[in-house]
Structure formats: C-alpha cells, structure tokens
C-alpha cells in the first residue's frame, strides 16, 4: 500500500524494493517466461479481433450500468438471492458485517477477491470480531504475513519458498521442509478444516450475468467452489463493472482472461452460480445467498468520457506482467491495492489522489501494457492524463510549469538551447566529447550515463547549405527533427539526408517547427502540449507535402497518434491535425517502403559489423514498425544479430529518467547486458532519445560498443554516387 507522502519518499521506497535480490530475480524470470506463455496461448487465435470485441462489449455495458443492475437484481431475486448496492467501500463492508451479524456467524472463509482487497473488507470484519480465513493459497500466505497482494492473480509472487516454509512452520507449530509440493499439501490440509467449520463464505465475482442473474468465478485452485458450497451463507462482492448483459459476453472474456493472466487456455475451474442453490445446513436446505455490488466511484467513472474505458478492465494483471517498471520494483510499489498500469489508474479513482499522485509518475510510457491489455485500454495515455488531472487539482510543481512555459515559446526555447552551447564550453571533455560533469540542474544520480553537449551548430542552421536540389521530385517531404536531433544530434539528420538522396524526394525543413510536445505530456502539462502541437501543425502545412518524416520514434508516435486528439476540440486545427497525422512516417518505413532503398544502394561488400538492434518503444509498439529497420540493416550488408528482449524499454522515457534515475539505470544496464551477450560491436536504434541513453550508458560502463541512429549506420554503407 502507498503511504509515501512525497515523490522523494516514494522514490526511496522503490529504490529499496530494487535492492531485494529475490524479488528482482523472480520478476525477471516471470517477465521472460510470461512473454512466451502468452504468445503460445494466443497462437491459434485472432487476438486483436477478440480484444476489440471485448472492448466494444464492455463499453456498451458500462454505458448502461444502472439499467443492468436493475435487471440483474430482479432476475437474481427471482432465484432467491439478496442483492445489495453499496455506494462506498465502507458501506459494502458494513452490509457484509451486518449479514454476518444477523446470520450469527463466527468464522468466515474467503476466496480471492480484488474487490474485497479494494474495500479492505478483512480489516473491517476482523475488527468486528470475526475470524476470517483466506483460502486461496497466495492470499492465505499474504494474510498470514499481514501484507497486501503484489500481483492481481499471483498475490504472493514477491515471496520465496523459504519465506513460505518459515511462515508455515509458525502456523502449524511444526518444522516444515522447503519443498513447494509439500508446502502446498500442508495448506490443503490446514485450510480444509476451516471450510468445514465456517458459517459464511465470501467470494468475488468475475461476472454478474444479467440474463441469468448469476455470477461467474474464474479460479485455478478450486477453493471458490468449497467457499461457495460448504458454509450456509454465501456473500459475493462484485464491482458494478462486472455486470455483463449476456453469458456470451462472459464466455468471450474467458477466452482472453486466463490466456492473458497466466498463458492458460482456461483456468481449472469456471464456476457459475445462479440463484440460491442447494445447501444442507442452510434455511430449508437452501443457501442464504447475497450479492453485494460495489460502486465506489464506478458510476461516476462510467459517465466520464475521458476515463470510462478504465471500467473495461477484466483484472487479468497482464499490464503488470509486461511492465518494465513493475518488473523492477514489484507490486507493492507499483500500485496501492490494484497493481500495474491499471492499478495506477484505479488507485486514483478508487482510493484517491493522495495515494495516486506519486504512483502515476512511475510510468515510463513504453506502451507494453497497452499492447497486451485484454480490453484494449489505452493505459499509458490515461496514466499521463491522470497525472495532468492531479496537477490541475493540486497545482503544478515549478519545474513542470517552467518546462511548459519554455516549450510553448519556441523562440525562447531555442534561444536557451543556443545559450547552453556557450555555457557548457568549460565542461565539455575535449577527448570524449561528453559533458565532463553535469550542470547543476542535474543531480548526481543522473551520472549513470554520459550526457552529450548541445551541438556547435543546430541542424536548422545547417539546412540552407545541406538542402539537396532535386529535379523532378517524386515526393515532397517535410523533415521533422524533434529537439534532440536538431540541437544535439544534427549529424543523424544529415545521415538521413544522405540515405534518402537519389530517390526523388524533395526535402524541406520548415523552420517554424518546435519540440513535438511529448516531454510536457510526460510532465502533465496539457496546456503547453496543446500549444506546441498547434505550432507544429501550423509550421508544417500538411497540404504542402506528401510525407512528414521524422527520425525520432517518440516524436513520430506522438505526432501521429496524439495530435489529432490533442487538437480535436480546436475547430481551426482539428481537421488540419488529422491530415498532418496521416502524413507522419518514421525513417525506416519511409526509406524502405516509399523510397525503395535496397541492396543496390549500399556498398556491395558486406561490412561484417556485428550489429545489434534496440527497438524503440514508440516505434515497435507506438507505430507497429518492426520489420523495416531490421530489413534495412540486412540490406546494408550489416551482420544483424538478435539480442534478448530487443523490444523492452531502454529506460530513457524522457523526463522519466530524470525523476526515477535508479530505475532508468537498471533498465539501461539490462539492455546493454543483453546487447553485450551478442558480441555486437555496434548497437543501432531509431530514436535519438534511445541513442542518448544507450550511448551515454555504454560510455560510462566502458562497453566499447558504438551506439548509433540507424540513419548513421546506413549512411556509412551507402554506395558513393
């Protein structure tokens, strides 16, 4: 749970979590295994189509929750079920405590429910004097340790077998062997006695099916069946978002949920409980069956056009499974009660701003979660928007406001960059070309990567001389540089110009262009993001060019996907922004598919340069470009070697690396270690931000590997004309 008051405190807790060696090892093994298991599970399915169907069906249901609740209630009551609605978490707990009190209950057995975690139900019931026993193995373990879950489907993933053996030794009063198989059996026997003596069972519900008035439970262990069968009272606690019109909707989700959660085609048990069933010790041989629906902000969320898609979540936990930050710090830090990317969002909506304000900043915006989400939720974008909303509510911190003001004013921003060139002179190391030590605005913790100085002459000042004359051009192309290439790495753009030459592309570099705006989005500065978007769309008239090409994956993805949305409410800009976005293309796709850059453009003798590739998040996931860059490397006669986890984030994440340098460094080290294993002498990528991170890291570590933008690697191989 989140108790940190400030970002600094939160950061220090994350740092401690990263020092837990078992956790790091367990998380690494899980992340790698999960990827393969998930891919296998979806191998013979149309995954995208299924996800889109789930998203549509959930959206439709969320838009009429009140109506669905009324229908469900009527149907369930026909079958003898008591249906309750709790406005708040406290109200849900009170309803359940009252049912226990009126039923003369002493002992309660529970099967796993994230909703009960959300309301802190156990605390409430225990305070009222009830004995509550969690029966899901992982939940039992964390209950005994007085901890919260560290994963939505594997709540005890942060613990080792040794810790569990010690715990069970305490519980049984007998020395337990460190043998997982045996420990599981001990739990089996110990828990069996509790089912037999409990008066009440509490479960969650994965579905509340309106057409039947019944609930569905998705489990592996089978404890939910015992919990809902043996005691005379059964209470199911479900969020309103679990209401689903038809059984078909539920069956559809079941096709994705277990596959996404654990790589299983289906869980061992799916249990459908419709109405008050046979139960020997119950009144008249029937179960006393209650269903408590929890609102706790859901109805309001359902009416929020920006965030309603959060309610699509089916609680599979996949967004944590693939999150590079979760992998580093674990679930206790990457969430409050709900965990992973969705957890950052749900924390804000269910548990409030105070719990969420630090958490939401710990998203590196790599988009891995969005790619696997079973319900197609645009998680990274929504996390940034929650961050922006919190800043609007609480006031913007000075550095964030300052950055926003500076970026919104191109001339001021560029003047500052040009001034920096003079300021840095004394600290540029003449031998390495990096900054010798960091300017004061950077903390010491930024020193894990060498940082480059601002270039002597930005690209925009070189353009007049560089602009190639093209007779009978086939394509009119506007180059979008982004700030890093313009002011730090102009040579990358020069290389691109060289690669494009001779293919009939008339290049332009519109001078009014500025930063794409992604850094201010990362800082939660929505206003500044809108201002720079409008400036760029004005500076590069989509009517004047066939393509807007950028060598920066992050810029490309932001221009293409975010601009139309950012400017959609501006009647003067909306249409233009859409046309602008349509023309945006990344370097590799443009070179390969539009210009047809091919083997004959490159020197005929192979270079035998062992070259590894880093797939930038915003290229491989943001734009879905995976083949073009790799094929170009091969066409250029470079010896491309595949590194492990090519598409995992390098740890840059723009301003993220400034806020969470320890995490940034850990991701960078992992990336460079994987590259090192290939024996490559060159590492190529298509984003200047990644280049800055990777090159600076390799320099500090002394890896002796050359890090380049793909345009540079290709330009060097271009056949002289």
């Amino acid at each position: 749970m989140q108790q940190a008051k400030t970002l600094a405190e939160y950061r220090s807790q994350c740092r401690q979590a990263m020092d837990d060696e078992f956790l790091r090892k367990a998380m690494d093994a899980f992340a790698v295994a999960y990827r393969t298991n998930r891919a296998n599970a979806f191998a013979d399915m149309n995954e995208r189509e299924l996800i889109a169907e789930i998203a549509d069906a959930k959206d439709a249901a969320v838009s009429r929750l009140d109506e669905l609740f009324a229908q469900f209630k009527a149907k369930a009551e026909q079958n003898g079920v008591h249906v309750h609605l709790a406005r708040t978490a406290a109200e849900a707990n009170e309803i359940i405590a009252r049912i226990a009190r009126e039923g003369g209950v002493k002992k309660i057995v529970k099967s796993k429910s994230m909703t009960a975690e959300e309301t802190l139900l156990n605390h409430h019931l225990e305070a009222d004097g009830y004995q509550v026993v969690e029966t899901d193995l992982g939940e039992w373990i964390i209950q005994l340790r007085h901890e919260g879950p560290s994963h939505m489907v594997m709540p005890a993933i942060h613990l080792s077998r040794y810790q569990v053996a010690d715990l069970f030794t305490d519980v049984t009063g007998q020395k337990q062997e460190v043998d997982i198989e045996k420990l599981v059996k001990v739990a089996r026997r110990e828990l069996r006695t509790h089912y037999a003596t409990a008066d009440m069972g509490i479960s969650g519900a994965n579905f509340a099916v309106v057409e039947t008035g019944g609930i569905g439970l998705v489990t592996n262990e089978g404890n939910a069946r015992l919990v809902t069968t043996l005691p005379r009272i059964h209470v199911a606690l479900a969020g309103l978002d679990k209401l689903t019109p038809t059984l078909h909707d539920a069956l559809r989700i079941i096709k994705a949920l277990p596959r996404n959660a654990t790589g299983q085609a289906i869980t061992s048990y799916v249990t459908w409980i419709t109405g008050a069933n046979e139960c020997a010790p119950g009144p008249e041989g029937r179960k006393e069956h209650h269903i408590v629906f929890l609102d706790n902000g859901r109805s309001a969320l359902a009416k929020d056009p920006d965030f309603r898609q959060v309610l699509r979540c089916v609680r599979c936990g996949a967004c944590a499974n693939v999150c590079p930050v979760y992998r580093l710090v674990g679930g206790h830090k990457m969430g409050h009660i709900y965990i992973g990317a969705i957890g950052l969002l749900l924390t804000y909506f269910f548990h409030g701003r105070d719990k969420a304000k630090n958490l939401v900043q710990n998203c590196i915006n790599c988009g891995a979660c969005k790619q696997v989400c079973a319900a197609g939720i645009d998680l990274p974008r929504l996390i940034k928007e929650v961050h922006a909303r919190i800043q609007d509510e609480e006031g913007h911190p000075l550095p964030s406001k300052l950055l926003g003001t500076v970026l919104a004013n191109r001339k001021l921003f560029h003047t500052l960059l040009r001034t920096a060139k003079w300021g840095q002179k004394p600290i540029v190391d003449g031998k390495t070309g990096y900054l010798r030590h960091l300017p004061l605005i950077f903390g010491k913790d930024q020193d894990f990567r060498a940082l480059p100085p601002v270039a002597e002459k930005p690209f925009r000042d070189r353009w007049e001389k560089l602009r190639p004359a093209v007779e009978h051009p086939k394509y009119r192309v506007a180059l979008f540089s982004g700030c890093v290439q313009d002011f730090v790495y102009p040579e990358q753009l020069e290389a691109a110009v060289k690669v494009f030459a001779g293919h009939g592309a008339a290049l332009e570099f519109p001078m009014g262009q500025s930063c794409c705006g992604l850094p201010v989005v990362m800082m939660g500065e929505t206003g500044a993001a809108r201002d720079v978007a409008a400036q760029n769309v004005t500076a590069i008239d989509p009517g004047s060019c066939d393509y807007i090409v950028t060598m920066c994956a992050s810029c490309a993805s932001h221009l293409k996907h975010a601009y139309p949305r950012i400017l959609e409410d501006d009647p003067r800009m909306a249409d233009k922004a859409r046309r602008f976005a349509d023309k945006v293309m990344d370097f590799s796709t443009f070179a390969r598919d539009v210009l047809g850059v091919d083997e004959q453009d490159f020197a005929s003798v192979s270079a035998h340069t062992k070259t590894a590739y880093h797939a930038p998040c915003h290229l491989c996931r943001g734009l879905g470009v995976t083949k073009a860059p790799r094929e170009l490397l091969a066409k250029a006669g470079l010896d491309y070697v595949v590194a492990d986890e090519e598409d995992v984030c390098c740890g840059f994440g723009g301003t993220f690396s400034m806020k969470f340098p320890e995490e940034s460094k850990a991701l960078l080290d992992k990336k460079l270690d994987n590259v090192k294993k290939t024996g490559a002498t060159q590492l190529v990528t298509d984003c200047p931000g990644c280049v800055m991170q990777l090159r600076g890291g390799a320099q500090r570590r002394g890896d002796g590997i050359v890090v380049r933008h793909i345009a540079e690697a290709l330009a060097e191989r271009i056949k002289p004309r």
Partner: protein, 209 residues
C-alpha cells in the same frame, strides 16, 4: 463427421496438455471397472499424498484420522447403475456412496461423475453441480473420474452456450467448467496440482452412438 473427429482430437490434446488422463470406454460398466481398478491400484492410504504424512497442526491432523477404508462416491447415478457399480466395489472391499459428502471432508479416494458437456477448444468438462453431493464429490475426491459421452462434445464454448444457458435459466443452478486437476502456482510460480480439489482428473470418453 470430420468436425466431430477434429473436435475429439482437439479435446484429447487440450485435456492432456493440462494433465488430465484421457481414455476411451465402450460402456458405463467399463467406466465403473476403470474406476475400481484405479482405486485398487492406489496406495493403501492415498490420503498420504494430500498431506497426512506431513507435520500438521492438531486440527489438520485430526482430519487424517477419520478415514478407514477406500471410498468411491458416485452421487448422481441411476439406481440400476449404482447397484452394478456398488457390486464391483464390494468385491474389492471399497465403499461406494452417493450421499453424505459433508461428513467426508477429510477426503475420499475417487469421485465418479457423468458430465453434461465437453468443450474441445480448451479440453473442458461441463458439469451441472446443482446437487450439493455432486459439487462436493468433485472437490473432496483425490481423483476425479469423469465420463464424457462423445455425443455431448462441443467444439467451442460458444457452441455449448445455448445448452449451458438453458440450465442456468431454469431456476437455481450451480454449474462448473472443469479443466484438468485443481492447480496453483502461487509459490514461486511453480505448478503444483491438487491444492484444494482433486489431485488427478481422469476423463473417460464414452462411445454412445
């Protein structure tokens, strides 16, 4: 016919992949014989497997002492079939029961059921467990022997949907999709079978055409 054959192949493949043991039988009598044989081959106290030999608290230990002879439960059979099954059991000295599961929570050796539907795409069984005895049988048994008549096999959950829905809409109903044995990976993601329910699932495909 091809679809049926494919569905059958898929079912066997998928069920086997989640550690179910799949065999074919020609009649219910053969299925009874299979269950009895399986029970016979079990260790004298198979309950050992589920934790009795381990150091337990006094309360946990007490459960282990309750059971004496081998027990098979077959709660939903027609009377004639139950009698035939009971005779086979008696010959081996096993007890065959069809009720009273609540007093057997320590565990029974084998639970025997006839399933309502099968779903090929996931290797799942659909078992209407509205009867409490059926529900408990399939949870407290160490081995679940489930008969699936081949005619009840459906290719996908969507194809089973109408029949499942019909059961749910006829008053209170408790229905289970069962796929493989009870499992957990909650300790270090290491797979362990039989955490709360059966340690083994045996599926007997019954030729009924």
């Amino acid at each position: 016919m091809t679809t049926t054959t494919n569905a059958l192949e898929t079912f066997v493949k998928k069920a086997t992949a989640v550690s179910a043991k799949v065999s074919e039988v020609g009649s219910l009598a053969e299925a009874f014989a299979y269950a009895v044989d399986l029970c016979d081959r079990k260790q004298a106290c198979q309950l050992l497997v589920s934790g009795c030999e381990l150091p337990l608290s006094g309360q946990g230990q007490a459960l282990c002492d309750e059971k004496q002879t081998k027990v098979i439960a077959a709660p939903a059979l027609a009377k004639k079939e139950f009698t035939a099954f009971a005779k086979l059991c008696k010959d081996k000295g096993f007890e065959l029961i069809d009720s009273g599961m609540r007093s057997r929570l320590a565990g029974i050796d084998i639970g025997f059921t006839v399933c309502d539907l099968g779903i090929a795409e996931t290797g799942s069984l659909v078992l209407d467990s509205s009867s409490e005895e059926v529900r408990l049988t399939t949870m407290i048994a160490e081995i679940h022997v489930a008969v699936l008549p081949k005619s009840r096999l459906r290719a996908t959950s969507y194809e089973a949907e109408a029949e499942v829905l019909e059961r749910m809409q006829g008053g209170p109903n408790y229905l289970a999709f069962i796929t493989g044995a009870s499992r957990t990976a909650d300790i270090e993601r290491v797979l362990a079978l039989g955490v709360h329910g059966p340690l083994e699932l045996h599926i007997l495909l019954l030729e009924d055409k």
